[in-house]
Assembly symmetry: C2
C-alpha cells in the first residue's frame, strides 16, 4: 500500500501476483492486462515496461510456479529417506498440496496452453520437477520383479497422470460436490493399488 510513489518499486512482482489471482478467477484467457495493471495500482501502459504481453506474463507465472513446485518435489523426495515407495507417496501429497495452495500457478503451468519448450528457462525448470518423479520411479525398478518391469518414464507418467487427473476432476469446482472422498484419499489409495500392481508393495497394505 505504498501507493503515493511515482515509482512502484516492485511492479513486476505485483503484476505477477495480480495475474495469479486473475487466472484463478477468470482463467488464463479470461483476464486482461489492463485488469492486472489496475489491481497493481498502476496505469494500463505500465505493464509493457516489464512484459511483452499476456503470454509473457503467464509464462512468467508458470516459470515461478515450476520453480516452487520443483523445490517441493525435491523436498518430498528426500522425505522418503531412501525408500522409493515412501518418496512417491510424499511426492503425491506434495503435488496435491501445491495444486491446492497455488491454483493460479498450477493453471498457468498445466492448463494455460503455454508452450513450455518455447522458453528454455521454463523448459529447464519444468524438467527439474519432472526429473524428481522419474528418479523415484527409477529407484522403484530395483525392487521390481524384472519380468514385468515397465520403463520408469512410463511409470512416472502414470503417476503424474493420476495426480493431475485427481486435481482437475476432484480438487476443483464446487467444493465437495463431486466425490465422497478427499483428493488426498483418492490419490493415496490409487497410488497404493498401482504400486501393488507393480509388485513393489505387499498384498496386505
Amino acid at each position: 500500500m505504498v501507493k503515493k510513489n511515482y515509482h512502484h518499486g516492485n511492479l513486476k512482482s505485483a503484476l505477477i501476483a495480480a495475474t495469479i489471482k486473475l487466472i484463478e478467477e477468470k482463467g488464463p484467457t479470461g483476464f486482461t492486462i489492463s485488469e492486472a495493471a489496475k489491481q497493481a495500482g498502476v496505469s494500463a501502459a505500465a505493464p509493457y515496461r516489464h512484459f511483452k504481453g499476456r503470454e509473457d506474463l503467464i509464462a512468467e507465472v508458470a516459470k515461478q510456479g515450476f520453480s516452487i513446485f520443483a523445490d517441493l518435489m525435491e523436498y518430498a523426495y528426500d522425505k522418503g529417506n531412501g525408500s522409493a515407495v515412501a518418496s512417491l507417496e510424499a511426492i503425491g501429497r506434495a503435488y496435491l498440496a501445491f495444486a491446492r495452495k497455488n491454483p493460479g500457478q498450477y493453471i498457468a503451468m498445466f492448463e494455460s496452453g503455454v508452450s513450455i519448450n518455447a522458453d528454455p528457462e521454463l523448459a529447464s525448470v519444468a524438467n527439474r520437477a519432472m526429473n524428481v518423479l522419474i528418479k523415484a520411479a527409477d529407484e522403484l525398478s530395483s525392487n521390481m520383479p524384472t519380468e514385468i518391469k515397465p520403463p520408469s518414464t512410463m511409470v512416472s507418467q502414470h503417476i503424474w497422470a493420476m495426480s493431475h487427473g485427481i486435481v482437475e476432476l476432484y480438487a476443483r469446482g464446487e467444493p465437495g460436490a463431486r466425490s465422497p472422498f478427499t483428493p488426498e484419499d483418492l490419490l493415496e489409495s490409487g497410488l497404493g493399488i498401482y504400486l501393488r500392481g507393480l509388485g513393489v508393495l505387499p498384498k496386505e497394505n
Copy 2:
C-alpha cells in the same frame, strides 16, 4: 452454404458447431459470441434468439458432448461381453478416442468451469456417462479378494482420473513432444498395472 436465405434454418446447430471450433482454438473463455455469429454467417445479434450468452452456449456444447460420450461409454461397456476387465479396457479406449476426436466438447465438458449441477438436464446426461464406469467398477468387485476391496465409486474415480490426466498431459499440445508413448499405450499399461494391483488380473500379463 445456403447463405442467401434470410432465415438460416438451423442457426442453433451452426452456432454450436462454431463454438466447438472456437473453443478448440481459443479456449472456453477466449472467444466471443460475435465471433461465433460471424462463423455461422449471421449478424452479431442473432445468437441472442437462441442463447442467453456465452455460458449458455458452452453449456449446450457440454450437454451435447456428454450425450455422445455416454453413448460411446455404453457401447464400449457392452463390448466387454460380461467381462468387467474387458469392459474397462474398451471404455478406456473409447474415452481417449472421444477426447481426441472431440476436443471442443471435451473441453466444454471438463475444463470450461461450466457448472454441471446447475442445469438438471446436463447433470443427468453427465451422470449417465459416469454410471457406466461405476457399473463396470462394481462388477469388478465380484472378482476381487474381499480383504482389499475398495468401494467401486473410488475405483471408478481412480480410473477416470488416470484417463483424464493422460488426455490433459499427453494427448494435447505440441504433437508428440511430450512423451515417448502414445496416450493409448499409457492408458492401457497404466490400467493394466492398476487392475493387477486390485487383484483382478494375473501377474503375468
